[in-house]
């Protein structure tokens, strides 16, 4: 047998093994599909008796590992998983915009009965998907559109913002606080205003300087923005962003930091003051139970500190007992309903008194904010 034939045989053997591998893959697939189907049933059995688990899906704009906005929602999903007979599907890093309609419809077609979208930009695509799947319940965070089978939910972050602003006001020595903010929209403006009012309750002469990033989650951009504020003389950094990058910039510059979304102490222990944080779990559980029981109705839910959807993260070491006592007192007043973080009338950026107006379409800054409310 000559060399040419040997080579031919070797190639043939290789090709055959590849084909065999490919076919093997096919066999695997039927086997595993069955296996995973079986698996689902077995996991269902212990948690909920004979009931089929309710299929619930979450769609996040960022990675759930961001330790920020998406992570907080994912914690809520985990709480739901632990406390209800559900089968949870989580999709992360799904871009907002028209393309996301397909993602919501895929989830609905897959048999999910309750779908949460946790970012503002899913609103219109979700509304369109909800129209095409009237038997599925859709819940949208932070938006304002709804329909028969689409509700929305959010919380009064401004309450946590105000309290964290008090911590920032107590910490600043330069009387300049930097605020790294995503987009000039009512939700963010509301937060900046409440934060600034909190700052100035403690330190009336302090000012809050805002830098816009045009992104919810982009660690390098967030870091650069924080550094520009530190360069301008800020000695406390606050943020409406989803990553811990502004805090790391503050830590590196020896400044203080008010985070957002979750307890981010671990990223910058010295800089950490506190943060307005979210606890979505109870709302997810309540909504799921309503859908399972067939009592769900489309509504706009606005949580707050009193019901626990909004809270304040643990304080950093540098926050004095005196400051903590002051903040806790205000917190109790907010819970009791005797203190409102956004007063009416309110003094705007130019020093003019004006009506508070609808806080969900707030488009102005209060006195003490440096920057433009239009971006």
């Amino acid at each position: 047998m000559n060399l040419r034939n040997w080579r031919f045989l070797a190639i043939l053997a290789l090709a055959l093994s590849l084909i065999a591998a490919a076919c093997g893959g096919d066999d695997d697939e039927t086997a595993t599909t069955e296996a995973s189907g079986g698996e689902t049933e077995t996991t269902a059995a212990p948690s909920g008796g004979d009931e089929e688990p309710l299929k619930v899906a979450f769609v996040h704009v960022g990675p759930v590992s961001d330790k920020g906005w998406s992570w907080a929602h994912d914690q809520g999903a985990k709480y739901l998983e632990a406390n209800a007979n559900v089968e949870v599907t989580t999709l992360e890093s799904i871009p907002e915009g028209s393309d996301s309609q397909r993602v919501f419809e895929d989830l609905a077609a897959d048999g999910n009965k309750l779908i949460f979208g946790t970012s503002f930009g899913y609103m219109e695509p979700m509304l369109a998907a909800a129209e095409n799947y009237p038997d599925v319940v859709f819940e949208h965070a932070t938006g304002f559109m709804s329909s028969e089978n689409m509700g929305n939910y959010f919380g009064a972050a401004e309450e946590g913002r105000y309290l964290s602003g008090m911590a920032a006001g107590a910490a600043t020595e330069s009387n300049l606080i930097g605020y790294v903010a995503a987009f000039p929209i009512p939700e963010v403006l509301r937060g900046i205003n409440a934060f600034t009012l909190g700052v100035r309750e403690v330190k009336p002469e302090a000012q809050v300087q805002v830098v816009w990033t045009s992104t919810w989650f982009d660690p390098p951009v967030e870091k650069t923005a924080a550094e520009s504020l530190l360069d301008a003389g800020a000695d406390v950094i606050a943020m409406h962003q989803d990553s811990a990058a502004p805090g790391q910039a503050a830590e590196a510059a020896g400044a203080k930091w008010v985070g957002y979304n979750t307890d981010m102490t671990e990223f910058a222990e010295t800089a950490w003051l506190t943060a307005p944080i979210w606890d979505w779990g109870p709302f997810y559980l309540k909504t799921t139970q309503e859908v399972a029981a067939g009592t769900w109705e489309s509504a706009a839910y606005y949580g707050n500190i009193a019901d626990g959807m909004v809270d304040l993260a643990p304080y950093g070491e540098s926050v004095s007992d005196e400051t903590i006592a002051l903040i806790e007192e205000r917190k109790q007043q907010i819970i009791d309903g005797t203190f409102s973080v956004l007063p009416d009338p309110i003094v705007d950026q130019d020093g003019n008194e004006r009506e508070l107006g609808d806080i969900f379409s707030m488009n102005y800054f209060v006195e003490g904010v440096i920057g433009s409310p239009t971006g």
Binding site: S98, P184, P186, N363
Partner: protein, 369 residues
Amino acid sequence: MTTRRFIVEPRGLASTGLILAVPLLSVLLAVIVGAIFLALTGNSPGEVYVKMLDVSFGSSRGISETLISATPLILTGVAAAVAFKMLVWNIGAEGQFLMGAIFAAGMGIWLGDGSPAAVALPLVIIAGAIGGAFWASISAVPKVYLGTNEIITTLMLNFIALNFMNYLIFGSSSPWRDPLVPQFPSGRPIPDSGRIPEFFNRLDYGFIVACLLAILAWFLISKTRWGFEVRVVGDSANTARYAGIGVPQKILGVFLMSGAFAGLAGSLYVAGPVGALDPRSLDLGLGFTGIIVAALARLNPVAVIPVAILMGALNNAGPALQSIQVPAATVTMLQGAILIFAVAGEFFIRNRVRRPEKRLEALEEVSAA
């Protein structure tokens, strides 16, 4: 004794069978390597592949969604293909796509609801082509007349276009911005007369238009005198000059045509599924993906169509795979594997790899082993 074990030599003209077999084999190999990777990361390859096929092609809705995702990629793919064919390195399809979207949305909003669709729709679509060609011209004219490097200028103009779009929506009260939505800066909806009608689930006629335009591009390049001259310039500018072909005009023409196609991708996308100048819907890298599509299609405008459909299917399968616990990063890896194998396959179409002819030497090696 040091000898070369393998010799790589250009193949000259590859046979049609080879041109078809190599890409198919490349995709097959990518699937196999992907399967190994999936198995190693604890996923079931079979389940993953079945899910991918099922999501993208397993239902009429899946097919229509795949074609929706493919539509802009067909045109950005053609944009890259016609330019690269002529060694014009236009990597600015992203910016030209956005500028096309800006022009098209602007035209739709400017015309308003008063004009009939038969007038408004063609104007909206053509506005996109003009927007894309205009944005390309900023790189094309200096390249042709001053010899600037179009790789750098087209790349930088991508970021300018993106920031310009963001400015129109986030940073100003431009006509593109919807004044009725104070809660979040959004694009003003294009009136219905400027929107492309849907005909198959959510799929609109933009897909058909994109396919026809791809065929038109192929016809222009392959079947016309202009196309012939363009190809001569692409093969050798000196030869073209010697033959009396106006090289600068040809380069300019191809560059603008490339930009116009990318701009058309933008206009079909805003007049189709998006319906407004919405930065969140448009900033998806569709122009950059067009370069990949063109490379896989071997710069053939017609082959761009099936490749774009494949890429659309891969794109749509991503979120669905997450629902069976495959991480988003693994999906990206799988898409990358297919690309790498296809590019490697391209090498084997262009070149022949063989052992040196010396029989004796080869025999010695075998006996030594």
